[in-house]
Every structure is written in structure tokens, then in C-alpha cells.
């Protein structure tokens, strides 16, 4: 969207809307929230198939007792990469894709608040997952220590170890940038009259979970960086011999990932409830103020699904049955 004002009485053809760029540079340089949202969703779909193929290898091996197809170590590489790809490559980008498409439309904004950041936060993803997938071809194979990356087992990973950590850093960075963009958009770019309490449920859940992601991802990044320094720089965060504790990593990891997981499930429940029938429901809820009973539950993602579901269902029955 152009933010400059033109003298429209004297405009010539060059000031007309040229439409998007032609060719592949449209997608590389785009700042359009729908283009970026589409790229996010297509990317998530590709990752769904890649992570799904890994799940198929796991299932293939498990079809019957004994080992028929892959070695145990490769099996563990598949479980580890499958989970990382599905979480960071599929679920999170899919939700950012939905956010890109729907949040500006739902709150009446012309685009996301930070379009170039939006472009960047998407284009980090192919490189990050490319890095993660490239570990499959490295000496010693991909990480096989499980998606939770617990030390000391994770420290036994071969040459791919630093690449996997860096991939997690990049994926986290993409999440943080996407979350910043969503918060800034929701806080600053609502249409006149679209107060916070009139926002659709999907926007609310994304606002809350974007804050949670900003709080959670640096913790995860810190945890995996400590793994990195334990491996290469002689620290002992997670090694008892040097005064550390392997369980510390589990605390760091889960303090970050429970937030991330609940935020994913929160958005999932919200989007499946709301955005599947946006036009029908919006007449009832999006345009009406929330009662205060729903506000606390929006602030509490872990109970979000449970506490809002029943009152929300009752309300839908009471008000939207026509």
C-alpha cells in the first residue's frame, strides 16, 4: 500500500497500479500480506509432506517386528527431524500464514504493520529448514537425540550438531519476527471502531500467543546455545563433571516449549472454532463486545480451549441459532 499522497488530477500512466512484479521476483520481494501468507501456507504444506515422508519411514519400519528397512540410528534421525520439521516447519509457519492472510482483513488493516520484516521472517524459513535438512547428508547423519535435544545424548551428535542448533536459532528468529509483526499490527492498525474487545477470537488468540512466543523462543535459543558452548567452548552447563546438571536443560526447554505448545493448540482451537465459519460467526461475536468472562480466559492460553469452549458454545446456541 502506498503511503505517499499523489496529485491525482495530474497523474499519468506511470502512477497507475502496476500490479505485482512479474515472475519469481514478485515472491522474493513481495511485501503484500496475502502473498506472504500464501508463501507461508505453501511452505507449511511442503514441510508437511517432507515431515510426513519421515513419519512414513518410521511407520514402514514399525509395520512388523524386527528390522526390515532402516538402522536404529537412522530411525532416530527420522523421529528427531520429523518432529522438528513438523513443529518449526509446518505448524508454526501455517499459523503465521493464516495470521498474515486473516488478521489484516479481520481488523480492517491495509497490510501488516511491518511488511519488509514480514518478507524477511518468511524468507528465513527456507534457509533454516534447508540447513536442518542438509544435516541428513553430513558425516554422522542428522541429529538423532530426539526433538527435545536433551543433553548429554544430543552432544553425541556428529558433525551436524552445530548446524541443527543454528537451524533452531534461525527458526526461532523467524517466529519472533513474525510475532512482533502480528503484535504491532494488532495494536496499531485496527480500523476505527475496532476496539480490542470487538476483535475476533482468532486475532485475540494470536495477540496472546505472539507475546508468549516472544517470551518463549529466546529461552529455547538460550538453551540450545548453552548446548553449543558445552560442546565447543568448554562450558559445563549440562555436565555434572563440571558442576552442571543435565536436567537443567529439560527445565529450560520445557519452560519455553510448554508455552509454545499451548500457544499452538490455543490458536488451533481458536482458528478451527472461528475461522471455519467467519461470516456466520462474525455477525454474532466479532462485532459485539466480549463480556468480561471471556477476557481472562483469553489471557490464559492453557485453559483457553476449556474455559472458552463451553460458554462459547452456549452463547452460540443462544444467539446464533437462527
Amino acid at each position: 500500500m502506498s503511503t505517499t499522497t499523489h496529485d491525482h488530477t495530474q497523474h499519468d500512466a506511470s502512477h497507475d497500479d502496476h500490479g505485482p512484479r512479474k515472475g519469481w521476483t514478485r515472491w522474493l520481494f513481495t511485501t503484500n500480506h496475502k502473498d506472504i501468507g500464501t508463501m507461508y501456507l505453501v511452505f507449511a504444506l511442503i514441510m508437511l509432506f517432507i515431515g510426513g515422508a519421515m513419519a512414513m519411514i518410521i511407520r514402514l519400519e514399525l509395520f512388523q517386528p524386527g528390522l526390515q528397512f532402516v538402522h536404529p540410528d537412522f530411525f532416530n534421525q527420522m523421529t528427531t527431524l520429523h518432529a522438528l520439521i513438523m513443529l518449526f516447519g509446518m505448524i508454526m509457519p501455517a499459523f503465521v500464514g493464516f495470521a498474515n492472510w486473516m488478521i489484516p482483513l479481520m481488523i480492517g488493516a491495509p497490510d501488516m504493520a511491518l511488511p519488509r520484516l514480514n518478507n524477511w521472517s518468511f524468507w528465513i524459513l527456507p534457509f533454516a529448514t534447508g540447513l536442518l535438512l542438509s544435516t541428513l547428508f553430513m558425516d554422522g547423519g542428522a541429529p538423532a537425540g530426539g526433538w527435545t535435544m536433551y543433553p548429554p545424548l544430543m552432544l553425541q551428535t556428529g558433525n551436524s550438531f552445530p548446524f541443527a542448533i543454528f537451524a533452531v536459532h534461525l527458526l526461532g528468529m523467524s517466529s519472533i519476527l513474525g510475532s512482533i509483526n502480528i503484535i504491532v499490527t494488532i495494536m496499531n492498525m485496527r480500523a476505527p471502531g475496532m476496539t480490542l474487545l470487538k476483535m475476533p477470537m482468532f486475532v485475540w488468540t494470536w495477540l496472546i500467543t505472539a507475546y508468549l512466543l516472544i517470551a518463549a523462543m529466546p529461552v529455547l535459543a538460550g538453551g540450545v546455545t548453552m548446548l553449543l558452548t558445552d560442546q565447543f567452548f568448554g562450558t559445563s552447563f549440562f555436565q555434572a563433571a563440571g558442576g552442571g546438571d543435565p536436567v537443567l536443560f529439560q527445565h529450560i526447554f520445557w519452560s519455553s516449549d510448554t508455552r509454545r505448545c499451548t500457544s499452538s493448540s490455543c490458536r488451533l482451537s481458536a482458528s478451527s472454532r472461528r475461522s471455519s465459519r467467519p461470516f456466520h460467526a462474525s455477525r454474532c461475536l466479532a462485532t459485539r463486545p466480549w463480556s468480561m468472562q471471556q477476557l481472562p480466559s483469553a489471557f490464559c492460553p492453557s485453559s483457553c480451549g476449556l474455559t472458552t469452549c463451553l460458554p462459547w458454545a452456549c452463547r452460540l446456541l443462544a444467539k446464533c441459532s437462527s
Binding site: P65, L67, V70, H71, Y150, L153, A240, P246, S291, L310
Partner: protein
């Protein structure tokens, strides 16, 4: 469509009562092992009882909640001419649906907390066993006797589990659940165990004992169990520990106390002779 719904509604009570009858006559499905099984230690049986308590509490809550939802959906549907209510807030309703779940939770904590406290009470134990996890085997040490040994997957299972071994796992007895040197323990004795690992995280898991605890390198976790019935009990490593995580089973032979003493004495003698 409406006819179908009416038919469904008319048959609903009969269907529900049939399902309930099936549920209540569940002993008929004795070999249908869907539920958690009872164990052979007080810990395992307490866990089983608490599991059943929690399951029934949530079942009752689920039945009540879904009954209300389904009744509302069926009885107040549009074709019946239902008129939407216009109120938006009810403090009474909110107090009720906050208080009842809170009371249920307090009740569950009241039932669970004593069991958790007993779980950590290792006082007055009859013997101490040290368990150490390795990639990929277990070491057992009878503390105070100098006697320790390693316990690894049996050769027959190990041969069958190799990629394209050509050996049918069904032909191997206790495939992946048998070891060369099983752990031997006395029944009726409170056994305190110390759990650690030598390399990476492991977890010692024997379902019949109700025990699943992490073995952390450099740290010692402790707990206790008392086996009530003699028998052979099997378990596995329960914390991903590398490529052979699935191939380091646990086998415990629980034998009467005098038999155990005789076994331990026979094992200790060669070690003393060697000295």
C-alpha cells in the same frame, strides 16, 4: 434429515443403555488389555487405584457435560422453534462452574498427595540396590556386598533384531524383553534403589512395579519398592539414550527371601575366591 434425527433420538436411550451394559460387564473382556494393569507392588497398586479414581471422575464429568450439550442441541433446535435467550451474563452460573471443578481438583489432590509422599519415603528399607544405566545395558550392584553385574539383551534377540537378519522375531522367546543376567530380588523386602547413569540419560521402567525413574549421569535418584509376589517381571529403558535405546531391556526375577540369600551367597563366593 429431520426424520433421521428423530429416529436417532428415539433410539438414543436404548443405545446408551446397551453401551452402559457393555461397560459394566467389562470382566467379559478380561483379555482385552486396554486399561492400565495392576502391579505387584504397593506403589503400582496405588497408582492403579488413583488412575481409576481419576478416570471415573473425568468419565462422570464428561457424561454430564456432553449430556447437557447434546440435550441443548437436540431439544432447542431451530425446527422446534427454539427462541434464543437474550441474557449475556450470569454470576450464579459462573460461581457454580468455577466452584465445582475446584472442589473436584481439591478432592483429587487430597487423594493423590499421600501416595506421592509415600513414594519418596525410603526409610526402613531392607536392602539397597544400585542401578546404573549404560549405552546400552544396565548394571546392578547389591550395596554392601561388592557384588555387581551387567545385564544385556540376550544373544537370540540381538541376532534377530539386526537389519535383515532373516530370523523371525516371533520365533524368539521374549523377543527384546530378555537379558543374559536378570536382576534377582527378594519378595517382601523393602528395596531402596539408587539410580544413576554412566553416559547419557536413561530411565529404569518396570510397569509391574509402578516404577519409571530417570537415570541422570552424575546424579543419584532414589526410590523404593517392595515386590509382593514372586515372578519374572520385565521392563525397558524409557528415556531415549541413542541407537540401541530399544534394546536394553530389564528383567527382574523376584524370588522368596531365603532363595535370594542362597543365590547371593553363591554369587559372592567366586568373587571372594578370586581375591
Amino acid at each position: 434429515m429431520h426424520d433421521l434425527l428423530t429416529k436417532v433420538c428415539r433410539r438414543l436411550p436404548a443405545t446408551v443403555s446397551t453401551l452402559l451394559a457393555l461397560l459394566l460387564t467389562s470382566p467379559a473382556y478380561a483379555d482385552w488389555k486396554l486399561n492400565m494393569t495392576r502391579g505387584v507392588t504397593s506403589t503400582a497398586n496405588e497408582a492403579y487405584d488413583l488412575h481409576m479414581l481419576g478416570l471415573w471422575v473425568s468419565t462422570i464429568a464428561g457424561v454430564i457435560v456432553f449430556a447437557v450439550i447434546i440435550y441443548a442441541m437436540v431439544a432447542f433446535r431451530k425446527s422446534k422453534g427454539a427462541v434464543p435467550a437474550t441474557f449475556t451474563h450470569s454470576t450464579k452460573a459462573e460461581v457454580i462452574w468455577t466452584t465445582i471443578p475446584a472442589l473436584v481438583l481439591v478432592f483429587l489432590v487430597y487423594e493423590t498427595a499421600p501416595a506421592l509422599i509415600r513414594l519418596d519415603d525410603t526409610r526402613n528399607s531392607g536392602m539397597t540396590l544400585k542401578i546404573t544405566g549404560y549405552q546400552w545395558k544396565w548394571q546392578y550392584e547389591y550395596m554392601g556386598t561388592d557384588y555387581s553385574f551387567f545385564s544385556t539383551l540376550t544373544e537370540s534377540s540381538n541376532a534377530a533384531r539386526q537389519l535383515n537378519s532373516g530370523i523371525d522375531p516371533a520365533s524368539v522367546e521374549h523377543y527384546l524383553l530378555d537379558v543374559d543376567n536378570p536382576l534377582v530380588l527378594p519378595v517382601g523386602v523393602k528395596i531402596r534403589y539408587l539410580l544413576t547413569a554412566n553416559d547419557v540419560l536413561h530411565a529404569w521402567w518396570v510397569p509391574a512395579f509402578g516404577i519409571k525413574k530417570d537415570a541422570v549421569p552424575g546424579y543419584i535418584n532414589e526410590g523404593w519398592f517392595k515386590v509382593d509376589e514372586p515372578g519374572i517381571y520385565r521392563g525397558q529403558c524409557a528415556e531415549l539414550c541413542g541407537k540401541d535405546h530399544g534394546f536394553m531391556p530389564i528383567v527382574v526375577h523376584a524370588v522368596p527371601k531365603d532363595e535370594f540369600d542362597a543365590w547371593l551367597a553363591s554369587k559372592k563366593t567366586p568373587a571372594v575366591a578370586a581375591n
